[in-house]
C-alpha cells in the first residue's frame, strides 16, 4: 500500500495541477482522520480548510505586506486557525453522534458560507482577498516550481504526522471511539473530550491544507466555504477508501487528476463523480484502495490462472459500463442544453449532435441502442467476473 511520491515530475502547466492534487490529498487525509478513523462523518469540513486559507492570506498581508511569518512557515498560521476553530466547532458538534453530528457540521459550514460575504473586512466579499508571497530564506517563491516543492514538503510532513498520530495513545483511542464509544465511558474515558481532540486535529490539518492553497493561489475567496468543497472531500475520501491510510489521498489525487483532465471536455464531471461515489458505496465499500488490496490478495492467494481472467473481465466490464453511461449522459447534456433547444425549435426536425468525432441523430434508434448495448455487455461481463470468482471459492 505504499505510494512513492515523485518529486521529479516537472512539466510546467501540470505543476499547478499537481500542487492542487497534493493539497486535496492532504485535505482528504485530514478529513478521514475524523470520518474514517474516529467514525464521525463530517459534511462541513470546508469550514476549517477555508478558515485556514483566510487566516494565511491575512497573515501574508500583515506587517504592511511583509507577512507575519517567513513564507515557508505560513501554513502554520492556517494550521493554528484550523485548530482554534476546530476546537470550538468540535465542542458543539461532538455532543451528538451519527447523522445529527453530520448535520451540525454541515450547518456550521453553511453558517460561515452565509456570514462570510457580509463580513467584508475578514472575507473580502465577492472578490475575496489577495496577497503576495514574500521572498524568504534565499528563495523568491515566484515560480511554481518552488511553490510546488514547498507544498510537497508540507504535505509529506503532515502525512507523516497524521500517520504517526495513529501510533500514539490518542490515535488508538480515536479508533476505539469509532468501534465502541459507549464502552469507553464505562472504562473511565471522557468521550466528549476524545471527540473534540480528534475533531480539532483533523481541523488543524485541514486548515494547513487551506493555508497551502492560499499560499499557492495568493488569494482566498469565500467560495471556499461552499458546500461543494465539503462534498468533494467526502467523495474523494470514500472513493479512495477510508480503510487504509493512503486511501483518501489516493482518491483525492485521482479525482483531482480526472477533474483537471476532463473539465474541458465535459460539463457533467460532477455527475460522474457522484455516480462513481454511489457505485463505490454500493459495490466496493472499501474504495479504490480496497479494490487494489483485494486484487493483490486475489493474485497472491489464488494464483494467476484465476485472478487474471477475473481481473480482465472486471476491468472490461468497468470500461464498457463507463463508456455506455458517459455516452448517454453526454448526449442528454447536449440535448437539454439551451443552444440545442434553440436550434431544434428553429429547424424542422431534430438536429444531429456531434460527439466523439461523429454526428449522432437523437431521433434514431441506433444512437441510443449503442450505449444500451455497451451497458448490457458491461453488466454481463461484470456478472461473469463475479461468477468466476464465486465458482472457484
Amino acid at each position: 500500500m505504499l505510494l512513492a511520491a515523485l518529486p521529479a515530475l516537472l512539466p510546467a502547466g501540470l505543476l499547478i495541477a499537481s500542487n492542487q492534487m497534493l493539497v486535496a490529498a492532504l485535505f482528504a487525509s485530514a478529513y478521514s482522520l475524523l470520518s474514517g478513523r474516529a467514525g464521525m462523518l463530517s459534511f462541513g469540513h470546508a469550514a476549517y480548510f477555508g478558515i485556514g486559507a483566510f487566516a494565511t492570506v491575512h497573515a501574508m498581508n500583515a506587517v504592511g505586506g511583509a507577512g507575519l511569518l517567513p513564507t515557508p512557515l505560513m501554513p502554520l498560521i492556517g494550521a493554528a486557525a484550523g485548530l482554534a476553530v476546530g476546537i470550538v466547532a468540535g465542542w458543539f458538534a461532538t455532543q451528538r453522534s451519527g447523522t445529527t453530528f453530520a448535520m451540525i457540521t454541515l450547518a456550521i459550514a453553511e453558517l460561515l458560507h452565509a456570514l462570510a460575504p457580509q463580513l467584508k473586512s475578514l472575507f473580502g466579499g465577492e472578490s475575496g482577498i489577495s496577497a503576495m508571497r514574500m521572498p524568504a530564506w534565499g528563495l523568491d517563491f515566484g515560480s511554481t516550481t518552488q511553490v510546488y516543492y514547498l507544498t510537497l514538503c508540507w504535505v509529506l510532513l503532515s502525512l507523516a504526522l497524521l500517520y504517526f498520530h495513529g501510533l500514539t495513545p490518542a490515535g488508538r483511542l480515536t479508533l476505539a471511539l469509532r468501534e465502541n464509544g459507549h464502552r469507553l465511558r464505562f472504562l473511565g474515558y471522557n468521550v466528549h473530550g476524545l471527540g473534540v481532540s480528534a475533531f480539532a486535529i483533523s481541523a488543524m490539518f485541514s486548515g494547513l491544507a487551506g493555508g497551502l492553497q492560499a499560499l499557492s493561489n495568493e488569494a482566498a475567496n469565500y467560495a471556499v466555504f461552499d458546500a461543494g468543497v465539503s462534498a468533494s472531500v467526502v467523495l474523494n475520501s470514500y472513493i479512495g477508501g477510508v480503510g487504509s491510510f493512503f486511501g483518501p489521498a489516493l482518491g483525492a489525487a485521482l479525482m483531482s487528476f480526472f477533474g483537471y483532465a476532463v473539465s474541458d471536455i465535459t460539463q457533467s464531471w460532477m455527475l460522474y463523480q457522484g455516480v462513481l461515489f454511489v457505485g463505490v458505496m454500493m459495490f466496493a465499500p472499501a474504495g479504490v484502495s480496497g479494490l487494489l488490496g483485494s486484487g493483490s490478495r486475489l493474485f497472491a492467494q489464488r494464483g494467476w490462472k484465476l485472478a487474471l481472467p477475473v481481473t480482465l473481465l472486471a476491468v472490461c466490464a468497468a470500461l464498457l459500463l463507463s463508456a455506455g453511461g458517459v455516452f448517454i449522459v453526454e448526449m442528454l447534456q447536449r440535448l437539454c442544453s439551451q443552444d440545442y433547444r434553440a436550434m431544434a425549435q428553429a429547424a424542422a426536425k431534430l438536429p444531429t449532435i456531434a460527439l466523439f468525432g461523429r454526428a449522432w441523430s437523437p431521433g434514431s434508434v441506433l444512437t441510443w441502442a449503442l450505449p444500451v448495448a455497451l451497458l448490457v455487455l458491461g453488466a454481463v461481463l461484470a456478472l461473469a467476473a463475479r461468477r468466476r470468482l464465486g465458482a472457484n471459492a
Partner: protein
Amino acid sequence: MSSSSILNIRGLRKSFGATEIIRGVDLELRAGEHRALIGPNGAGKSTLFHLISGNLRPTAGEIVFKGQRIDGWSPERINRHGLARSFQITNIFPRLTVFENVRIAVMQRRHVQYNFWRRIEGMRAIREEAEALLERVRLQHRAGTLGGEMSYSEQRSLELAMTLASDPQLILLDEPMAGMSAEETQYTAGLIRELTAGRTLLLVEHDMDVVFSLGDSISVLVYGQVIATGTPDEIRQDASVREAYLGEEHAA
C-alpha cells in the same frame, strides 16, 4: 455495619414515563462481599445496574459509593471512582485485536488519552500491564486475534479483563455466563472467583449453581424491589422467595 459498607443504596426509584421499574430498592454491600442478585425476568436487574453505573439517572433515592453520593454522576466519573461493570451483551471493540482491547482499558489510568507525541508501543508499563491482564484471563495466546473473531466465551473473558483493567474496588457483572455451556460456565466461574478475590462483587445470574458457588450472600429482586437478602441457606428457605420463583426447582 455502615462503616465498612462500600455501596449503600437507599430508596432507589426509576420510572420511564408512567412505568415505574425500580420501586424503592435498598441494598447494602460491605467491602469484600460477593453478593449475587437474582430475580425473575423483568424484575429490573439490568436497570439497577444501569442506575448504579451511571448509564441511567434515578428518579428518586440515593446511591452512595465509598461514602460519596454517585447518583447522577456520569459513567466515566463513576468508573474513575473505583466502580467497573461488565455488560450482558458483549461490549468490546470488535475490529481491534484482543491485546488492543485490553490495552485501551489499561491506558485510562495512565492519563495518556490526549498524548499524541509518543508511540504507544514505546510505553512499556502499559504494554506489560495489558499482557499481565491477558495472562490472568488466559487469553495471551489470542492476543493478536480481532476481538470480533473470537468464540463467545473467549469474548466474555475479554470483557472480564477489560472490566478489571481499572483495578476497581466494586465490580458489577451482568450475567457473565449468559449463553455458555456447562463446561464454559464452570471455567468462567473459577476465573471470576480468582479475579474478584479481595474486591467487592455484585453479580447478576440466573444459573443457581453459579449463584450458590460464587455468592457469599444473595439479594432477590422482584418487581423492582429487593424482597430478601441473606446467605444462600436463608434465601433457599425464604417463603416469599419461593413464591416469587414459582416453578423454579433450585429454590426448593
